[in-house]
């Protein structure tokens, strides 16, 4: 599903965000990327979504090499991804349903099917009946659920989430993580960047540990404690 082979990322100003990273993620796997602030977690996710391009090495997603992917092919790659952001990135002037429907609009899904899929996604995140609400009327946790519903509505094979619980209290964080676990059970591959070590220990999933751009550990789920 995802393969990093000696991938490095150096930003134009000279900062080395990732250095010689190699790992692979199988389809249907759920794993976390952790590390201190500035360790390279977000850069790693940005490379997968081609928000940034790797400076060196080979990076494959869905068997497609991203290093030389043409600019016009990037939207297609992103349509096959579900992305969850720490700050939700919801459109505050649209309803919850409109926010969730956006990936389907971009994919050109018919109106009736769009409505069914949006209701399905909201049901999965526990927000049935809130479709007409404005995002600003929701709590932070609910807004994050809307972000997750938007990420899963087009049924992507791969979901990447950047600190999805960063602004949430422990109880809400746990609920959001349980949502990801449920999604994984449907066959989704899930990659989550998080620095919340206690949460990671509770989740007992594979963990990649980054430190100053280096991958210093790849802990299998069985050894997370």
């Amino acid at each position: 599903m995802i393969r990093f082979d000696s991938v490095s990322k150096r930003y134009p100003e000279g900062r080395e965000a990732l250095i010689d990273i190699s790992f692979a993620v199988a389809a249907g796997e759920m794993l976390f990327v952790t590390g201190h602030s500035g360790a390279g977690k977000t850069t790693l996710l940005k490379l997968i979504a081609l928000i940034e391009r790797p400076s060196h090495g080979t990076l494959e997603v869905h068997g497609r090499s991203l290093a030389r992917m043409k600019h016009r092919e990037i939207p297609r790659l992103r349509r096959d991804l579900g992305m969850v952001f720490q700050d939700h990135r919801l459109l505050m002037d649209r309803s919850v349903a409109d926010n969730v429907a956006l990936p389907l609009v971009i994919a050109g899904v018919p109106h009736e099917e769009r409505g069914q899929r949006v209701r399905g996604a909201l049901e999965k995140v526990g927000l049935v009946g809130r479709g007409k609400d404005a995002p600003s009327s929701l709590s932070t946790g609910e807004q994050q659920r809307v972000g997750i519903a938007r990420a899963i509505v087009a049924r992507p094979a791969l979901i990447i989430a950047d600190e999805p619980t960063g602004n949430l209290d422990p109880q809400l964080s746990e609920e959001i993580m349980q949502l990801f676990v449920k999604l994984r059970e449907t066959g989704c591959t899930i990659l989550i960047a998080s620095h919340d070590l206690p949460l990671l220990k509770r989740m007992k999933q594979r963990v990649l540990v980054l430190d100053h751009g280096h991958l210093i550990d790849d802990v299998p789920a069985s050894q997370v404690a």
């Binding site: 979504a49 928000i51 600019h71 016009r72 939207p75 297609r76 790659l77 992103r78 349509r79 096959d80 991804l81 992305m83 990135r89 459109l91 002037d93 956006l102 990936p103 389907l104 609009v105 971009i106 994919a107 050109g108 899904v109 018919p110 109106h111 099917e113 069914q116 899929r117 209701r119 399905g120 996604a121 049901e123 999965k124 938007r150 899963i152 509505v153 087009a154 049924r155 449907t186």
Partner: protein, 319 residues
């Protein structure tokens, strides 16, 4: 299909159907954005509509000046008034002499009776003319230069005719007509220049409006791109927005010109009446108005395209 089924199926549709649905959504979205700020939208449309109305009004004026020119006579004809003592035989002999010239195409002999009749009918002086004790008009010849004769050759022919015995007065109708034609050509050039300048202004007004709109929706564009929107998808609502502005402004411009026509109708009718119906004031044909609307839509689309393309190019996502 229940909700679980709906969630389980991957999203794949034919490209044409996708394209059609994306356009429908973008079209609705563009209208929604315009409706969100009614005052700003109305002001932009008013400014652009006024700008587009000006060249249309000039064009209306030009069309009617051309009507006037057509009504006032043919371009190249030369009127030759003979002396009072020249009779019908003398007039016909002179006409024969003129017809033999290589620079003359046709000569028509107008009798004094014909001239008086036309004068009475054309100028509305019927009663006054009927009260004259005798016809004061001489025989006249209407000389049409041969096709392809230029102004210099016509002027030479006029000089030669003036020198002929029996000729009292030669009136070169082509001279004033040439001046009128030059004025109409100048008016046409001014109208074109005005249309280009104000059209450019309209493109800039809409471009700037759309640019501000894009800037205010930068976060939305960023989210769209992150979840897989192509540059074309991102640009599309703004192109529709520009086209809506153009259409609305075009309608305003057409309405303003129709209003102008209505306002001018009464004074122009009086003027026309004073010329005994020989002049004709006409509005712009509907084809011209439809073309004006289409041009306005194209200008709006163009302004939006420039603004959105520049923004996307800055993001490195044009194409």
């Amino acid at each position: 299909m229940n909700m679980q089924d709906a969630m389980a199926k991957p999203v794949r549709h034919s490209r044409m159907a996708m394209w059609r649905r994306q356009h429908a959504w973008c079209l609705r979205d563009s209208l929604r954005q315009l409706a969100r700020r009614p005052l700003g939208t109305a002001l932009t449309i008013a400014v652009m509509g006024s700008a587009l109305a000006l060249p249309l009004a000039f064009y209306l004026l030009l069309v009617n000046v051309q009507h006037l020119a057509t009504a006032l006579g043919d371009s190249q004809s030369v009127s030759v008034f003979l002396k009072q003592n020249v009779d019908a035989r003398g007039a016909n002999e002179l006409a024969g002499t003129l017809r033999a010239r290589s620079d003359v195409g046709a000569v028509t002999v107008r009798t004094p009776q014909q001239g008086l009749g036309e004068l009475a009918a054309m100028q509305g002086f019927g009663d006054a003319i009927r009260s004259l004790p005798e016809n004061p008009l001489p025989f006249a010849l209407l000389v049409e230069p041969r096709a392809g004769t230029d102004r210099v050759q016509v002027a030479a022919m006029v000089r030669a005719v003036r020198a002929m015995p029996g000729v009292d007065l030669v009136q070169d109708n082509g001279q004033w007509r040439a001046r009128l034609d030059a004025l109409v050509a100048l008016g046409r050039r001014v109208t074109l220049l005005l249309a280009v300048l104000l059209g450019t202004a309209a493109v800039l007004v809409i471009g700037n409006t759309v640019r501000l709109d894009i800037r205010s929706r930068a976060d939305e564009i960023a989210v769209q791109q992150l979840i897989g929107a192509s540059a074309a998808f991102v640009r599309r609502p703004y192109l529709y927005e520009g086209a809506w502005y153009g259409l609305a402004a075009g309608i305003v411009a057409v309405l303003l010109v129709l209003l102008l026509e209505a306002v001018l109708a009464v004074p122009v009718r009086d003027l026309v009446a004073s010329y005994a119906g020989r002049l004709h004031f006409g509005g712009l044909p509907w084809v011209t108005l439809v073309i004006a609307l289409a041009v306005a839509v194209a200008l709006g689309w163009c302004g939006a395209w420039i603004a959105s393309s520049r923004y996307l190019a800055r993001l490195g996502n044009s194409g």
